[in-house]
């Protein structure tokens, strides 16, 4: 065959290999697998001896954040915690709120995972319906067992968490009740200012 066709063939083979490699890791996996992959990745980083001392703190945080970024559906989460009040914010405020709240939530989640990093995490089961899923896990401590459920939605990039339910308490609903109070009494700017203080000094 001609050189040209040969070249084309090689190109196609190489390209198809690359496109396979570049697929997002969670693609095609189930919701349970997505949670498992992400949580185990976080736990790995938290207990990686190479990242133990303070000099590696920044590298550690960066890794943890990159995992959290793939795990959570930040825009969906943020919007849901404001509920009807989302519309009362202008688009600039909405953007800042999403950014601040997702930073804060990521901090909270990583902080809690760190506290429980010595416990056993059991991935019980998942329930899927079209593009939604509920993944049940348990954190087993020495004196108690904490059920942690992840509500997920299937996006183009894979399964994303849009709510975490800990011992029956939905995080999104809990924050929504808090934000409702603040927005009613003090307005969007006060909420953003409070979040800036909370999330501003830490995070990415």
């Amino acid at each position: 065959m001609t050189k040209r066709v040969m070249g084309l063939r090689i190109f196609l083979v190489a390209f198809s290999f690359l496109s396979f490699v570049s697929l997002p890791p969670a693609f095609g996996s189930t919701a349970l697998e997505a949670v498992e992959t992400n949580v185990s990745a976080v736990l790995d980083v938290l207990r990686d001896p190479a990242l133990k001392d303070d000099s590696a703190k920044e590298a550690k945080e960066k890794k943890l954040w990159s995992i959290a970024d793939t795990m959570f559906d930040y825009p969906g989460l943020s919007k849901r915690t404001l509920g009807k009040n989302w519309e009362t914010l202008n688009s600039k405020q909405q953007e800042e709120f999403t950014d601040l709240f997702s930073t804060h939530l990521g901090n909270v989640y990583l902080d809690r995972i760190l506290a429980y990093s010595s416990e056993k995490v059991v991935f019980d089961k998942e329930k899927t319906k079209e593009d939604r899923a509920l993944v049940n896990t348990r954190v087993l401590g020495p004196s108690k067992e904490i059920p942690v459920d992840y509500r997920m939605v299937l996006k183009d990039a894979g399964w994303k968490v849009y709510d975490v339910v800990i011992e029956g308490v939905s995080l999104v609903e809990n924050y929504r009740s808090q934000f409702k109070e603040i927005l009613k009494d003090k307005g969007p700017e006060y909420l953003l200012e409070t979040l800036r203080e909370k999330a501003g000094d830490k995070g990415r």
Partner: protein, 280 residues
Amino acid sequence: MRYFLLVFAVLAAFLLGCAHEQGAPLSPVVPDAAVTGNAQGKDRSESLPVLERELDAGLPFDGVEESDELDDPDAQEEEVRISDPLVYWNKAMFHFNDKVYFWLLKPVATGYKAILPEPVRIGVKNFFHNITFPIRFAGCVLQAKGREATAEACRFMFNSFFGVAGFGNPAKNYPHLNPPEEDPGQAFGRWGIGNGFYIVWPVLGPSTLRDSAGLAANHFLNPVSYVEPARDSFAITGARVVNNSSLTLGDYEAFKKAAIDPYASMRNGYVQERKKKVER
């Protein structure tokens, strides 16, 4: 002597009956699932937490069907609402309890934690959990949950005997002896009695009108309440609180750190948790 042997024999038969789930083997059910593969293929040493995936074990106490959990994520979810007419009192009590925790409970529990090793403290927790069995038993009976009531009774006997007065918790290896925990407050909720309004009690913490009636019922069902003199009963309760707090130090601080408005967060969290328990 004969009567003692007879009682012992009956008790032993009863306990063996409890341990033996209908149709299930007598040996403890230990999650025996395969360890999930590590994406990076690294070696896992014994000290690292093991991630296990359990297949749907079909646990003996199936909760309410969670089909509503998978509704449209973009739809406005039903919120748990609670009226809070006593908000000024409640906020004052919230701050009072906050101070009680940081100025009194936390220092005492921290000192207590330093003295007593964790297994001992877990033993004490188990002991108190065991003797408050009447509260959970009544909670089950009031909701006509016969299977759960039987499980509670069995666990009480099992842990009292094999767990040496309840300090041990050998029953934890038997899923059918670990029913979801009920209490009279939940029973009232199941009867259709609404929460009423939110109320924060000093020291006791968040509650609602209905759950406060439940707390009163708990008091009468708690054997510790009947210890004479009342001062001793109070001291025992205090010891229980300190002991259990020593096992959860850091939780309240984490809660405050996570919350944007701790008062509202606690109120909502409490109501959500109780609602979940009532519906279970």
